[in-house]
Assembly symmetry: C2
Homo-oligomer: 298 residues x 2
């Protein structure tokens, strides 16, 4: 899979198309309604807007969005709107959840409180980028875990691989990133990467490969990998980058989005049903791409 | 300054042009000789190649480079070639130093052993990127310090500002990066950024501004900064990004180079005379751009 357009095409072959419903607490942002409206117009999904009717109508008016295709559940309080949305997901009344104009912490807390929604001991985040002439690039975790331990990093990897499988990525090549490509005590992330790879490798499926520590150049570029004498199924062609820390992942991903201008998407990993988590500054494309991921996973 | 071409133009106005000499220990890589040859051909500098004559000749032959414009100092052993190059710099026999095909550690050790070459208690690294429609973007430190303390980060900043002044960047706008834009105890780098900014701000010159913590989107994009209600001389228009750690800086910078394909350069900070430090996988453009920086600083 090389692009979000390919994801959209793949989605059209799904049997449950048009029956996928998104609950969105506090959808008071134009880009949210625009993305949701696009998904509805194309027949991919339906939307359940949970929040203050007046605010929803105001937002729709500003962005010239028709509200008729949507179901609206009136909940004036933000906290209650989050709770109600999570309840709809838990009760299978909707298929997916998408964050509206609410704080990430409050949104994640709402999910964490309903154990039935969780399939993993950790909620983690996966960012997805479309880079020209490459397979879609998955990055985890750039948003939730600040300084994950080795055990937590293993869960981050397993969560992200599960997301990739659900989306339909057949060959999953994991690079556990550091600043160097050999374990060096002076660079703790490189030693951690070595241990993670050693521990996880035996349990991965036939379509899954893992290498690390790898520096980003050696993970991404076949030429750079060759210069360092690195070969194998991952070096130079990884499609899942595991970052050593929140700081590294956040700065890297924001660099891809804001400096590189690469199309992107984001999805929560570790939940029974798809949860879209995009930052407040995300545009309508990022939100729409994220909805595509969720629809494929639903 | 928006591009390396502008740097090249600025260089042409320098009075010492053509007298700037580079010592290069072990220049056994085509891209090194090609970049050096380009600088010589354009009349910017001269080259002193320190190493094994036979290996130098072989490399020159492969890349079809004429060796006549260069001075060659025969030193068969790599370690001795590094030592000899540093000595030439210390004795003012050359104006700049450029790393050849030697290990970064051995190269930096050679410099650190000659106290006369140092102006700072730390050797740090500054990477420079050319991003369309932006001022040249400086990033520090993505290569040397693994997990700098607050005091070390202050030195990283002062070193980088000194480099920018020497290059002729008149307005220097420092963003101390983290994953969030407000100090939060859960994200240690954000608290550190807050302290660094508070401590350094009073001592900076009138043309220098500092803000932090800033997330990368808020440091780079005026739109993203406005969404968060951030204004002032730095948010959205920073031209010096201070990264929280080696991992964050290394992955970010390699992302800009390998995924974003932005033209780049690299220079050591904290030395009395310019030292070019590029990685082994650097191409001839990166090496040539780095030489331009060094020539402007010489």
């Amino acid at each position: 899979m090389k692009s979000f357009l390919e994801l959209e095409n793949a989605l059209q072959e799904k049997s449950n198309l048009g029956k996928i419903t998104f609950a969105v607490p506090c959808p008071y942002e134009e880009s949210i309604l625009v993305a949701l409206s696009e998904g509805t117009r194309k027949g991919f999904c339906k939307g359940v807007l949970v929040g203050d009717c007046r605010k929803i109508e105001e937002t729709a008016k500003k962005s010239n969005i028709e509200l008729t295709p949507f179901e609206i559940v009136e909940e004036k309080e933000d906290a209650v709107a989050i709770e109600r949305s999570c309840e709809l997901l838990e009760d299978d009344a909707v298929s997916c959840l998408m964050k509206g104009l609410v704080h990430t912490g409050a949104f994640l807390k709402g999910i964490l409180q309903r154990k039935n929604l969780l399939t993993s001991s950790l909620l983690t985040h996966v960012a997805v980028y479309e880079i020209p002439d490459r397979d879609l690039l998955f990055v985890s975790d750039p948003s939730i875990m600040v300084q994950p331990t080795i055990e937590q990093k293993k869960i981050i990897i397993l969560n992200a691989l599960h997301v990739m499988r659900q989306i339909g990525i057949s060959h999953r090549r994991v690079a556990v990133l550091s600043s160097v490509e050999a374990p060096a005590p002076a660079v703790p992330s490189s030693v951690e990467a070595f241990e993670i790879v050693r521990d996880l490798r035996p349990s991965l499926s036939q379509e899954e490969y893992i290498e690390g520590p790898l520096a980003l150049d050696n993970a991404f570029s076949l030429e750079a990998a060759a210069l360092k004498g690195l070969s194998g199924p991952v070096a130079g062609k990884a499609n899942l980058f595991i970052v050593p820390s929140l700081d590294a992942g956040n700065i890297f991903c924001k660099g891809l989005t804001y400096i590189g201008n690469f199309p992107s998407a984001g999805i929560v990993a570790g939940t029974r049903k798809p949860v879209v988590l995009t930052s407040r500054s995300a545009g309508k494309e990022e939100r729409y791409h994220s909805m595509l991921l969720a629809c494929l996973m639903a």
